[in-house]
Every structure is written in structure tokens, then in C-alpha cells.
């Protein structure tokens, strides 16, 4: 069965050109880049080349790139590095819809005495800059927000956020894991001090990422050890992964124009689903959204059941329902947006890539209506019971 892959916000396929670029560093060029001999030296040069490729994509300087193992490491490092550099400040501002690797760090920091403000989002998943400004004080050490949300694709106005943060002397960190390769960036002219990205979201393999650290920003490393990455991230480099990330960054730059095609396909999918299936809605901002992401809630049914039905036909997507995760809590992002339970549990994320084809979109459009119809036929909460359901939901909300 052919796989029809609509889960690119979870991970992407490794581009064949990327794979080709990295393979020699798993076989032929296995030297340690820290070694003094020329066999290691040529590996070191490959890392430097990758650094330049990535810096070019970001509009950054080579020296501002620190290679990491993943987005989680980047976010953990950035937050702790920023706080360690400003010991006289004890306040952090973030949002309710961040990735767990930011939220859980913030929760732990609260236990250590920091005060954290979690900015709310509106029903479109967008933050309110007035709320941010009200939360900022002279004690704010760090503002950390995502660029684009992984579940809904909603894009935050990062330059406005950064400008406000700077006006209070706070450091500004952006988790751009979902945005890099999909949205243009020019860090030279940006207010961003620290920016996180992850290779496997842009057609590099898993296990490699990077952290941008603005030149001159006071930085305290998370991992201590050797002098790799100019002492900012100790540990022998994942050379093949770094080479792959460099090549993936180069390809992303070349493919920026194809995001228009991705968006056209995304819109075709989204509009097709809305047109052929009743009682569904897009969860997210109508326009301030990644070009590849749509999150649609289908009333009266549960997301895992939709996913497994799609899986029968080789279609891979994602859901914000509790049943898809080890946790029993449904998506914190959709909850923060105030999405009603009736829709929240039946929300499906389709995320496209430059490999997505019109035929795949059409196949999903063909499969979805009967799947939704079948599951709604099983559900007791069909539209004839909508009033009853509404009452239950209101009762729950009032608790």
C-alpha cells in the first residue's frame, strides 16, 4: 500500500539529495572533526560548510550557529542560557500553546522561583500584544514564544513581540522548529536573540538541530565538556546529521517558491473538506498560518477513530485528541483556543510538504466523507442530539 503522508509537522521524509550528501560521513569520512590530523580536518570543513548553508537560510552569520541534537535541546538550552546570563531578573513570559519542551521547562523554573506568565490565545490561536505588554516588567529576563504553532500552524507576530521584549531589556527566544524552511527569515534585521530549529522538520534526518545565538548575546551553555561549537555545546558532533542539515537548509532555500504550491494544495484540501463534510471547522487563524498546515475539527466523533480509519488506506495524519497520546488530556493548544469539546476531540491535523501531490489531496478528499459519515453513524452525538450536547457542554464549562 502506498503511503500518503500528511504528517509533515511531526516529521518529514529525508530528501534523497540530503541522504546522498550525508552518507559519506557515515562511511568514508569518519574522522573526528576535533582531531588534529587532516582526516579529521576535512570532516571539520564539512561542518563549517553546513554551518554556512544554514546561516544563509536564516540570514545569520556562521558564528551564530550552534548545532544541537534536536529542537528540545535547543529550546532547553536557549531558555536556561538566557536566564543564566541575567541572574538579576526572575520573570519569564511565554504562551499557553508552546511545545511541551518549553512549557515543561517553564514549569520547572517556576518551582525554582521564577515567575512565568503564560499568555492566552484567542479562538484563532493568536496572542494579544496588549496582554504581552502588560506582562512585561523590568524584571522580565526572557520572552520565549514559538514562531508557528505545530498543531494549528498559527504564526505569531514575532517581530512585534521582539520589539516589545527589547523595550524592557528582556531576551527574546523563538522556537522556530515549525517555521524554518516554510517562512522566510532574516535574523540580521530581526529582534530575535535566540532561535531554535530541528532538522527533521525540513527533510533532514532526526537527531540534529541548531540554535541561533545572536552575536554578542551573553550565553551560558547547557552541555559542558569539550570545546566543540566554540564551547557553547560540548559533545562530539553528529557530523552526518549536521552535513544533512546544511544540505536540507540549502534545498529549503531553493524550494521557498514551492511553498506557494504547498499552500494551494493545502487550501484545496481544506476547502474540499469543508465543502463536502458538514459540521466541521478550521481550528486556527484564517490567514496568519503556515502554508502547509490545516487543522480541522469534525463534530461528534473522535480523532483517533478518524486516524485509524485513514490509516487503513495508508493515509498518515495527526490528531489533537487525548486518545492518540499516552496522556488523557486532549490538545492543550486547542483547549487554550477555547475549541468546544465536541470539535476538539475530533480534530485532525493535515500537514503537507513539497512532496505532497494533488492526487494525494484528491485521495484524501475522496476518503474523508465516508469515514466521517461512518463514525458519525456510530456516535450517539449526532446532529439530532446537538441541543442535548450543547447543554452538557455548557454545564461542563460552568464547572
Amino acid at each position: 500500500m502506498n503511503i500518503i503522508y500528511f504528517d509533515n509537522n511531526a516529521t518529514t521524509q529525508v530528501d534523497p539529495i540530503v541522504l546522498e550528501a550525508m552518507l559519506p560521513y557515515l562511511q568514508e569520512y569518519y574522522g573526528n572533526p576535533s582531531s588534529m590530523h587532516s582526516f579529521g580536518g576535512q570532516v571539520s570543513k564539512a561542518i563549517q560548510a553546513a554551518r554556512s548553508q544554514l546561516a544563509s537560510l536564516l540570514g545569520a552569520e556562521d558564528s551564530e550557529i550552534v548545532f544541537t541534537s534536536c529542537g528540545t535541546e535547543g529550546n532547553n538550552t536557549a531558555i536556561r542560557a538566557a536566564l543564566a546570563a541575567q541572574p538579576d531578573r526572575d520573570r519569564i513570559i511565554t504562551t499557553q500553546v508552546e511545545h511541551a519542551c518549553v512549557l515543561n521547562v517553564c514549569k520547572q523554573l517556576e518551582k525554582q522561583g521564577y515567575t512565568v506568565t503564560y499568555l492566552s490565545v484567542d479562538r484563532h490561536g493568536q496572542i494579544d500584544l496588549t496582554e504581552l505588554e502588560a506582562a512585561l516588567t523590568g524584571s522580565t529576563a526572557l520572552v520565549t514564544t514559538m514562531y508557528a504553532n505545530n498543531e494549528t500552524g498559527v504564526v505569531f507576530p514575532i517581530e512585534e513581540i521582539g520589539a516589545l521584549a527589547k523595550s524592557y531589556g528582556a531576551a527574546f527566544h523563538v522556537d522556530a522548529v515549525q517555521a524554518v524552511g516554510k517562512l522566510p527569515l532574516n535574523l540580521k534585521t530581526s529582534t530575535i536573540d535566540l532561535l531554535t530549529l530541528s532538522g527533521h522538520k525540513l527533510h533532514a534526518p532526526k537527531g540534529v538541530g541548531a540554535l541561533y545565538v545572536r552575536r554578542g548575546f551573553r550565553f551560558r551553555p547547557l552541555l559542558l565538556g569539550g570545546h566543540q561549537e566554540r564551547g557553547r555545546r560540548a559533545g562530539t558532533e553528529n557530523v552526518a546529521g549536521i552535513v544533512a542539515l546544511g544540505k536540507a537548509a540549502e534545498l529549503a532555500q531553493q524550494h521557498f517558491q514551492s511553498t506557494t504550491l504547498e499552500q494551494q494544495l493545502r487550501d484545496r484540501l481544506e476547502q474540499g473538506l469543508l465543502a463536502t463534510i458538514s459540521d466541521c471547522q478550521v481550528n486556527g487563524h484564517p490567514t496568519q498560518r503556515l502554508p502547509n498546515t490545516t487543522n480541522i475539527g469534525f463534530k461528534y466523533i473522535e480523532g483517533e477513530a478518524i486516524l485509524l480509519s485513514l490509516n487503513q488506506y495508508g493515509v498518515c495524519a495527526s490528531s489533537g485528541s487525548a486518545c492518540t497520546s499516552g496522556s488523557l488530556e486532549p490538545s492543550h493548544v486547542l483547549r487554550a483556543m477555547g475549541i468546544p469539546y465536541t470539535i476538539l476531540h475530533g480534530s485532525i491535523r493535515f500537514s503537507l510538504s513539497r512532496y505532497t501531490t494533488a492526487a494525494e489531496v484528491d485521495r484524501v478528499l475522496e476518503l474523508m466523507p465516508p469515514i466521517i459519515e461512518r463514525l458519525r453513524a456510530i456516535s450517539p452525538f449526532n446532529s439530532d442530539r446537538a441541543d442535548w450536547l450543547q447543554d452538557r457542554e455548557e454545564a461542563l464549562a460552568s464547572k
Binding site: G303, A305, S309, A322, L328, I378, P380
Partner: protein, 292 residues
Amino acid sequence: MWDYTDKVLDLFYNPKNQGAIAPCEEPGIAVVFGEVGSIACGDALRLHLQIDIASDKILDARFQTFGCTSAIASSSALTELIKGLTLDAALHVTNKEIADYLGGLPEAKMHCSVMGQEALEAAIYKYRGIEIEHHEEDEGALICACYGVSENKIRRVAIENNLTTVEQVTSYVKAGGGCSSCAAAIEDVLTDLYKEAKTLAAEIALREAIPQPPLTIVQKITLIQRVLDEEVRPVLMADGGDVELYDVEGNTVKVVLKGACGSCSSSTATLKIAVEARLQERVLPTLVVEAI
């Protein structure tokens, strides 16, 4: 991706007995439904039963489920398990039997089988005119505010399924699966449960290890009272019922069934399985229990 058995997948893709049962005007036939679950939790089950009034048998069972793969498969399994049973027999179908019918469920999905068992009870209680409030376990202290799970329910499901950890309780009844601030309270409930179980087990082991002289009538009554209080009543109370020792004449134990048990038409089964068997096991194999 959850690791589902082929049976779970089969009943998800091809559910049996899906849908509602229309109200029936035919004499001697009753139609009833029971409903459990919540929108917030993400799963709910509406179980419909068609009952032959004279024989008290389930002629047909159908389901409507809002939930995941395992919730739909568990509902379908339940309907297959109970068709043809008397209501008394159906009341003894456990969530474990539902899970076993499916070839097992991932532990984190066991609450789907518990939901099936509860919907069945809800439907039968409704048919028998027992106010659902009598059966609700809300009377016990509320442990998990996120999912509205009481201490009684945790105790009952933990006993029935031999649960020993907070994680297992979460998998079976969802308690602790939200903000998880109740994890310590769940742990306390489990600790109490197993402390009780250990004490009783130690006493029984001691009794079995040392040849015991026959119990005096006072010893017998004291032991019967203790087993009733510590082992039997918590289980019945979790189901909205209760039992009280009335008298002991020789080897005949006379009890009063109270609450939901008093008005429940499956009280004979309760008496034999929940009370008599336990007293025979713990006190004397020759005991006979009668309700007055």
C-alpha cells in the same frame, strides 16, 4: 500508534450491533438504554437493550459510541457478550471479560472496557427502576476533579482488576489523567486497600498455618462481622448497596441487604457470590447465607 489486536481492529472496522433499538410496543418486550461517559473525557457509550420481560433475558443489544478505536470495539464486544443472557447474569460481566473478548487492550485503553461495564449497569438499573443516583459512586470522596472519579470507584475497580499503581488506575478509570494533582490521593487509596488486604491475608495465613480449634460462637460472629465490614461492604457500597449482619444461627448467617442491593433483582446472585462465597472462604466453608 496503539498496538491493537486483530479482534479490536476487526470490531472497529466492522462493528457488530451498532445503532439504536427502536421503542417496542410488543407486549412482553421492553426496550431501554443506559448511557455513560462524558464529552470532556472524549468517550461516551449509549447501550440499548431489548429485554424479554418474562424470562428477564436480553434479546438484543446495540450500541452508539463516541470514542476511539478501542471504545468502539469494546462496545461492540459488550453487545456480543450479553446477548441471550439474563439480566442477573449480564450484571456479572466484568470489564476484564470485555477486554479478554477483544484479545486484550493496551493498558492505557482499559477505561474503554470499564465504560462498557458501566453502561450495561446503567441500562439494567434503569430498566429495573433503580434510581441511577443510588448506584452512583459520587457519595464517596471525590479524588479526581478533572474526571469526576470518586474514592469508591477507584477502590472498586482496583479490587476487581488487581490494580496496584497510580498509572494503572489512570488507565482503567482515567483518574489522575488530567492535571495529575490527585496522584498522591490515588496512591493513598491504593495503600489503604493493600494494607487491608495484607492484614486479612496475614490473618488467614496464620489461621491456616496453625491448627485451629473450632470457633466459638462469639469468635465466629466476630469474624463474620469483620469480613463483612472489611471485604464485602466496600464492594457493595461502591455499587450503591450495603449489607448488615442480622443474626447467626449455627452455620446459617442471616443478613439484611440494603440500598441498591435491597431492591436489586440480582440480589440472590449478590448474596451467593459477593457474601456467601467470601464468608465461606474467610470464616467457615460450611456457612450458608440467607437474606431476611
